[in-house]
Symmetry: C2
Subunit: 362 residues, 2 copies
């Protein structure tokens, strides 16, 4: 049943060091690997959605910090200069996208690890290798977290279930099996017969292009729908549960995720369909009391007025393009993490997930 | 303020008799008039969405009956043969699309008028002209109905209101000002400053292509959004009311309309936003007790997997393409017609709208 693993982001030593990415902007029609040879190229790949998905951009940024540092260190003459280079690299990568917290979490974890290393006697010599090892650890932990989320989430799926997912919270959004798609993969491998409605997820069509591609490879039966069909199939299509990922989760359980998630959650509630958010703990931002404070990225309106470069609307009109929305915790049935399943009240259950610390976290 | 009227469908005598249509499948990039010279061409234009919108396809089919009959009558030798030709023409046009009842209503009105004419002494000679006059009357009444719906609906719009509409229920969907867009046009001409969120309306993008084009011509400020952004802007965008059209309204007030309408109605209810359906009485089908019995057209899944001919999903996947959904009357704040505004209980209020009969109706 298991197909070849999808590689989303990895460290490459072929022909010089690089952060390698499967270019997701060209899927599903072409599978092209790009090699970023400088942190600016990594940042650009994140901005242009060549890599996307909260955990995946965290891992990519971590490799980007390692790459930038390994280029910078041979040219610096002091720890002070090394620190300055590190800060510049981190700032460059932080600027890419504002909403997903995994990006900031991964950059900060890399930064702390490198700063601590630079304090050691041979720090200038070892920091580059330490940084690469830390980035690889973040990637490996993400893959392990995906499997754990898959196991926890699959327990909520019964044989014969019809499910719905939005955007792509799959292998392409992580360094492993995915977040929202991990329970589906796990259930499928356990032999449960599931069928998945896939929202196409305008404007960038991550559902149609990426999730459909992943599920098709995996042999999981899917039906692609436009986003506005979801309510119809909730009422008439026998949908039993909805699984989505997250870009940032506030302390009260409010969830920022791909635009359209909020509407699905309200509709799920109206149809008494469980609405599950699947995300690693690195997505949880306990420093924010609620989702109101999560910055929502406003992307170029051309993504709405054009599809694959072709205009679909009259010239000169105004379009809005918020990339994310915020779903209040009151519309979320459970948050599934690698450390277990949290349910309301989230302000109590989410902190408990951190009883066992994330590796590498202070 | 008033711009040149949009002509959607009309009878043309230039270079031979024809049903003329503005080819909506090519808007907004090209404004091309097509001339249908036989009823088969009219039917094909309806199937391929060159003309769409419940009232507009009713008017188009009426002209199609007239066209077909005027071609057939010179070749028949008896009233029996004329009736057979009429039935064949009506059947051809009825087959085009199953959901909007205006199509069947208009064809049946034409059929009855022609059958009655054929009973008269010089029926074979006059039926062609009678049919054309009847079709033109249907078009003229539709235009008048649009203005009346505009006046009734505009009373529900206040200066400064932010509104939302779905699909295209505008001039392009009627032989006049539109259904859902008529109150917006009327309010705008009354000097009320409104702003309109326009759902792009996948898969065929009638919102992005047609409604945006109409509002832009009219100088009404609009913001184009993807369908999945509607909930976000209901919560954060200050939307004060939602106006949509209808393809069929059952006796209990259930409404079939463009896919996505049902989800919007549920979301509107959750956000306590009034949800208005605007449609002429020819859209009301009192023979159906509820929306459950309305046939939902399933269109080619290629409309979902391709946009303007370009594939957006992996080859070989399954996609669903219900063109309509059904909104239960419990989610509808009011139904605005040319004879007044109906509110719940609709099984009582809808029949009252027919106290003053539709012209030409028995």
């Amino acid at each position: 049943m298991q197909t070849e693993t999808i590689r989303t982001v990895w460290w490459s030593d072929e022909d010089g060091e690089a952060v390698a990415l499967l270019d997701q902007s060209r899927l599903p029609h072409e599978t092209v690997t790009i090699r970023c040879r400088a942190e600016q190229e990594v940042a650009d790949a994140i901005v242009t959605l060549k890599v996307r998905g909260a955990p995946a951009i965290g891992v990519t940024a971590a490799f980007g910090v390692a790459l930038g540092l390994r280029h910078a260190l041979p040219k610096v003459h002091s720890v002070v200069e090394a620190r300055a280079a590190l800060e510049r690299i981190c700032a460059e990568l932080r600027r890419t996208r504002p909403t997903a917290v995994n990006l900031f979490w991964a950059i900060e974890r890399m930064r702390q690890r490198v700063l601590a290393t630079l304090e050691t006697p041979d720090g200038l010599q070892t920091a580059g290798d330490v940084a690469l090892a830390e980035a690889q650890a973040i990637a490996d932990e993400d893959a392990a977290a995906c499997r754990a989320m898959g196991r926890f989430g699959a327990a909520l799926i019964a044989d014969g279930d019809v499910l719905l997912t939005h955007c792509n919270a799959g292998a392409l959004a992580t360094a492993g099996w995915g977040t929202a798609l991990a329970p589906l993969r796990e259930a499928h491998q356990q032999g449960k017969r599931i069928r998945v409605f896939v929202d196409e997820t305008r404007p960038v069509l991550q559902g149609a292009r990426l999730t459909a591609w992943e599920l098709q490879r995996e042999g999981i039966p899917l039906t692609l729908i436009t986003d506005n069909m979801a309510a119809h199939f909730m009422r008439r299509g026998g949908i039993r549960a909805i699984f989505v990922g997250a870009d940032r989760i506030a302390a009260n359980g409010d969830v920022a995720n791909k635009i359209g998630t909020y509407g699905l959650a309200v509709l799920a509630q109206a149809h008494q369909i469980p609405f599950y958010v699947v995300a690693p703990r690195s997505t949880i931002d306990l420093s924010l009391p609620s989702g109101e404070a999560i910055p929502i990225e406003q992307r170029n309106p051309d993504e709405v007025t054009h599809i694959q470069g072709i205009p679909i609307a009259p010239e000169g009109i105004t379009a809005a393009n918020p990339a994310f929305d915020v779903t209040p915790h009151t519309s979320i049935s459970a948050i599934i993490t690698e450390a277990g399943i949290a349910r309301a009240p989230y302000d109590e259950s989410l902190p408990l997930l951190f009883a066992e610390p994330i590796a590498g976290k202070a």
